[in-house]
Assembly symmetry: C2
Homo-oligomer: 328 residues x 2
């Protein structure tokens, strides 16, 4: 079944209608019995697309198509319509990358080497998906049921979208506009401004870690590696290594200050159908973490206005302290 | 303390920074002991702004300022800035309307008369807030902890915003554009198109009840009263009565098909600083209910693309059946 993109005539927003997603297993239990992501259950997943290390031995990282995809490669039964009931097929690709053979492991416990292995795996799969020149390759990690994770076994996901949704297009438009106006990258100017005030900086040792000025949730945190590339697919080894050195301690710090919160980790990146050199002029990949300890409500649904019951100037020092302790 | 609106330089979206909200009581327990909204505890709320019936007798509906406001009337200590760290004071007003003296009551159990009393109370307070000519008066009801309700005692909220957030402005722009292009109201054309296909209609008896084509969550449902007014403040008695006859049975139907779900109820309306006659040309108030049985995740945060694991064509008939049974 081809999933469908529907355009909301009242807001212009896109919604994916993906009925098969409702059939997903809902298994956040801390047991590996029956877990399709555990070693020995490889036959329960769609065909393997990558394993690290390569070869026939035991794997440490493993990627395959998502069994309940949000988007799927173009078929023949998708239909298109315009007007008030506008729609088009939701084409693309949706992958799972299992980060470890261990069911109860978590990324926050990773050594730098292990975190780098996961990031290298994600870069390899992002490159493979980007090779088809979709509009976007979105990489993310959902941790905990409150963040939408339906399986506990540690994993990330990659989604290649053949069309860029309005929210993503708006983000790119602002970054391109800033470059057109100033000749500089918006993310660089933001990083410089954060370093200038210092009040929202969590760490700045190889990767700038800060809490954004207009954070929408408590302890929302950005990791900005200064590697000058526009997408994860183009990331340098040095950029990945810098994130690998920082991310586990940051996740331990968040677990400390918020009590092992659910969170979404998102890798922001530019379009995949633009030349890498051109892209890097106005865009730089970076990581953002959204802890899920708050709930949006009616006002947010009616207006899009998100209410943050905290200030990043107050939460960043807490996280800096916890992260520093966690790093030791 | 003045709450602050911050503009996200990377997305253009607005975030309210409202630190006092974190001090809210979190009491969803089914006990009235210590509930500030229960009769006898009136001294625990800010000063009363309305009670129904008026006078000194026992109240059935009672309104007062929110003790933990998202926005507040303009003071002198709000500051404004532009550039990457753009901000301005989040001014406006935030009210609570307690719908019943009974702690364990719910709107789905309301008689038509009682539901009308609540709606008349909301209209009266919406009128009072609109009299100050804010940009918008947003009326909503959060039900259940998963929908952001921090207190169980049944209540609605009204928020007057002196500036319209980008998401709300975009919604109005589309409706105005449709009117400019066609001379018709977008909501009327949507209602006619829904009646034309019929496949997403839940009920159509005085109020059109349907599930939107581009629904973002399962069982998302619109109540469209054909009263020709642009805002709740201007709603006709007949329009309110029609909603009062339908809403409780609809809520009972949702409780039946989803197992008493958390939900947000939102009253969509046009700007409050536009003449009512002019507004009614392109805009019509209506109610939308968003059950909160799903969780958005990393893809949604990265792209704004919402994934609905169901189709309204499949869920609308279920709700129609349950609502019909609940109405008897």
């Amino acid at each position: 079944m081809i999933t469908e993109t529907r355009v909301d005539a009242e807001t212009g927003e896109w919604r994916l209608s993906a009925p098969r997603r409702a059939e997903r297993p809902d298994d956040a239990r801390p047991t590996s019995v029956g877990c399709p992501f555990c070693p020995g259950h490889e036959d329960q997943t769609p065909p393997e697309r990558m394993r690290l290390p390569a070869g026939d031995g035991p794997w440490q990282v493993r990627a395959f198509a998502n069994k309940f995809p949000i988007v799927s490669p173009a078929g023949t039964d998708g239909s298109t319509a315009t007007g008030l009931f506008s729609r088009f097929p939701a084409t693309g690709d949706h992958e799972v990358l299992v980060e470890s053979p261990e069911h109860d492991w978590d990324l926050r416990f990773a050594s730098t080497e292990k975190a780098l292995e996961v990031l290298l795996g994600l870069r390899e799969r992002a490159r493979a998906l980007a090779a088809g020149r979709p509009a976007a390759v979105v990489v993310f990690r959902n941790y905990g049921a409150a963040a939408g994770a339906s399986l506990r076994h540690p994993h990330s996901q990659l989604v290649a979208l053949d069309q860029a949704p309005p929210g993503l297009a708006a983000r790119w438009r602002l970054a391109r506009g800033h470059y057109a106006d100033t000749g500089r990258r918006l993310v660089d100017d933001l990083a410089a401004a954060e370093r200038g005030t210092g009040e929202r900086i969590v760490a700045d040792n190889g990767v700038l870690v800060y809490q954004p000025y207009a954070a929408s949730v408590p302890q929302q945190t950005v990791l900005f590696p200064d590697d000058g590339r526009g997408s994860l697919a183009d990331a340098t080894d040095d950029g990945l290594a810098a994130v690998a050195r920082t991310l586990p301690a940051l996740l331990r710090g968040l677990a400390e200050v918020l009590g092992d919160p659910a969170y979404n980790l998102v890798v922001h990146a530019g379009p995949s159908d633009v030349d890498a050199r051109e892209l890097a002029r106005w865009c730089q990949w970076h990581v953002e973490i959204f802890p899920r300890t708050t709930t949006f409500a009616g006002l947010e649904l009616a207006t899009g206005l998100l209410v943050n019951p905290s200030r990043p100037e107050e939460t960043a020092p807490e996280l800096a302290k916890a992260m520093s302790a966690a790093g030791r």
